[in-house]
């Protein structure tokens, strides 16, 4: 299901807008944009985590600031249902983000240790999962198996399965899970990092199947969108419902890790799960 925002609901986040100044969506404080960027797009006053795209995560997590090698970069979405407006939406998303799809993957180094990293970008059709997304995930997992190195996914997928590819999108929930099973059988560590928002078919497949599951603070995480739930049960939702801290309390994520600490936490986990004894060089 594609989750789409209409009127603003509690704590709902937006893409980073243009302009020199920026108001924190949570506490309302005004900041210089470069001040926020220096703080990794985390509000210095209240700790609110702004949504950032895949390039920013590459920059702050990878030793080289980017992939050493891209995987499956030539895949391109088709329009198997001839779905109204889909081709135009794809074109617009490509132009807006400079990405070919909502998902990217490649070989990266984290404190000297090689990993396969899979990331998704909310700005590209809500980070929704279509055929290409699923195939990129599958091939990335194969690379991790081939190289015998850990696999990390970092998701921002508000819509879950991409409506415009219909049943094919739904099937990607299984395809990505096939990849998870294959990694499990080969003893490949799989860490799932959930960022705002990770919902629907993405959350109900690989993203919930990590050996370790990490959430960024305040991320919206769950199966059904809060609006759908509200409309169904016709009552207000509890404060903090479906946020990272809520999932931690209910036992569905291992930890909530601020963006600033994400690289060092991943690095420590990789040291422990990553195979041979001893820490990495800079870990």
């Amino acid at each position: 299901m594609l989750f789409r925002k209409r009127k603003k609901i509690e704590g709902e986040k937006k893409d980073i807008p243009e302009g020199l100044f920026l108001k924190c969506e949570k506490c309302g404080e005004l900041f210089y944009k470069n001040q926020l960027e220096k703080n990794l797009w985390v509000c210095p006053k209240c700790g609110f985590h702004f949504r950032v795209g895949v390039d920013f995560y590459k920059k702050i997590l990878f030793d080289d600031g980017d992939f050493i090698k891209h995987f499956a970069a030539d895949l391109e979405s088709q329009d198997p249902l001839d779905f109204p407006g889909y081709k135009e939406k794809l074109d617009r998303a490509k132009a807006k983000t400079g990405l070919k799809e909502a998902a990217v993957s490649g070989l990266a180094r984290i404190n000297g240790r090689e990993v396969v990293f899979f990331l998704t970008d909310f700005r590209f059709l809500g980070g929704s999962m279509g055929s290409v997304y699923g195939e990129i995930f599958y091939r990335a997992a194969q690379e991790a198996i081939k190289r015998n190195i850990p696999f990390i996914s970092l998701t921002s997928s508000g819509g879950g399965a991409r409506m415009h590819e219909g049943i094919f999108s739904l099937m990607q929930m299984v395809k990505t899970t096939v990849a998870v099973v294959e990694m499990e059988e080969k003893g490949i560590p799989f860490i799932s990092v959930l960022t705002d928002p990770t919902m629907g078919g993405v959350m109900a497949s690989f993203a919930s199947l990590g050996d370790i599951i990490i959430a960024e603070p305040g991320a919206l995480l769950g199966f059904a969108g809060p609006r759908v739930i509200q409309q169904t049960i016709k009552q207000d939702l509890p404060t903090g419902f479906q946020r990272s801290e809520f999932l931690l309390e209910k036992g569905f994520v291992d930890m909530v890790v601020p963006r600033k600490e994400l690289k060092s936490v991943l690095s420590k986990l990789l040291d422990i799960l990553g195979g041979e004894n001893g820490r990495s060089q800079t870990g």
């Binding site: 299901m1 391109e76 407006g85 409506m163 899970t177 096939v178 109900a204 995480l221 049960i233």
Partner: protein, 316 residues
Amino acid sequence: MKILDFEKPIYEIDKKIQELKKMLGEDSQLEEEIANLERRARELKEKIYKNLNRWQKVQLARHPDRPHAVDYIKGMVQDFIELHGDRNFRDDPSIITGLGFIDDYKVAIIAEEKGRDTKEKIWRNFGMPHPEGYRKAMRIMRLADKFRIPVITLVDTPGAFPGIGAEERGQAQAIAESIKLMLKLRVPVITAIIGEGGSGGALAIAVANVVLALRYSIYSVISPEGCASILWRDSTRASEAAEALKLTAEDLFEFGIIDEIVEEPPGGAHWDPHVAVENLKVALLKHLKSLLRLSPEELKKQRMAKFRSFGVFAEK
């Protein structure tokens, strides 16, 4: 009895035939007229049902008189023993699980049930499972795997329930784990979409070696209503959304997502439930016999390879 708009002409002729038959004792000249009407009814049925649009098929898939999981279980499975509970939270009546025989073949059944009358519908939550429903299903899958019993799943749900409790208890995690477990099973798994295949809530019990669908069933990533409200902010344009989503059994067969369409009696399963039940039973037995020839490892491999192959993309 609920009569859909496009079914009305058939019901009208049918009524006339019944009336004439009642008068037949007194006037044998009516015989010819009855035969004529019966021929016309047949032709009309054929014509109407051959030209149904996708939205009309959605309505058939959701038809209140359509046979449900309980009817198929009753009609196909002998010595059915229902098993309850996820051993963790509660028994979810949206999913029926149990053991029994289809002819001489032992089977484990996992089936979504919407309920028939208002009271039962509420009890079964209109066939919308909570996490504990999927966890009960997983319990039965593990049991079946352990004792080498083939798994048959019957899908009929608007979707997994969107509610506070469902989220608190990990709806997404339950569905993900169920998909993963189904991939790993070493017994034959056959799924039949008997009515409505609502997104992740259907998929969670539909990762099978063979996926069948009744002629007037649907299977979709999102409901036509949900799709319309996202696309056009107008849920009343569901019929257009149904066309766009290509969600009928015929569409799915063409896409290679399902392996076989199980025929329904003329006009749909609700006109003659016994025929629908018998057709499904025949199809299940056929596939079960052929899957039983595969080794446990081959069964798992076939399932993994099948779902790995789905997707349409270009590579440049």
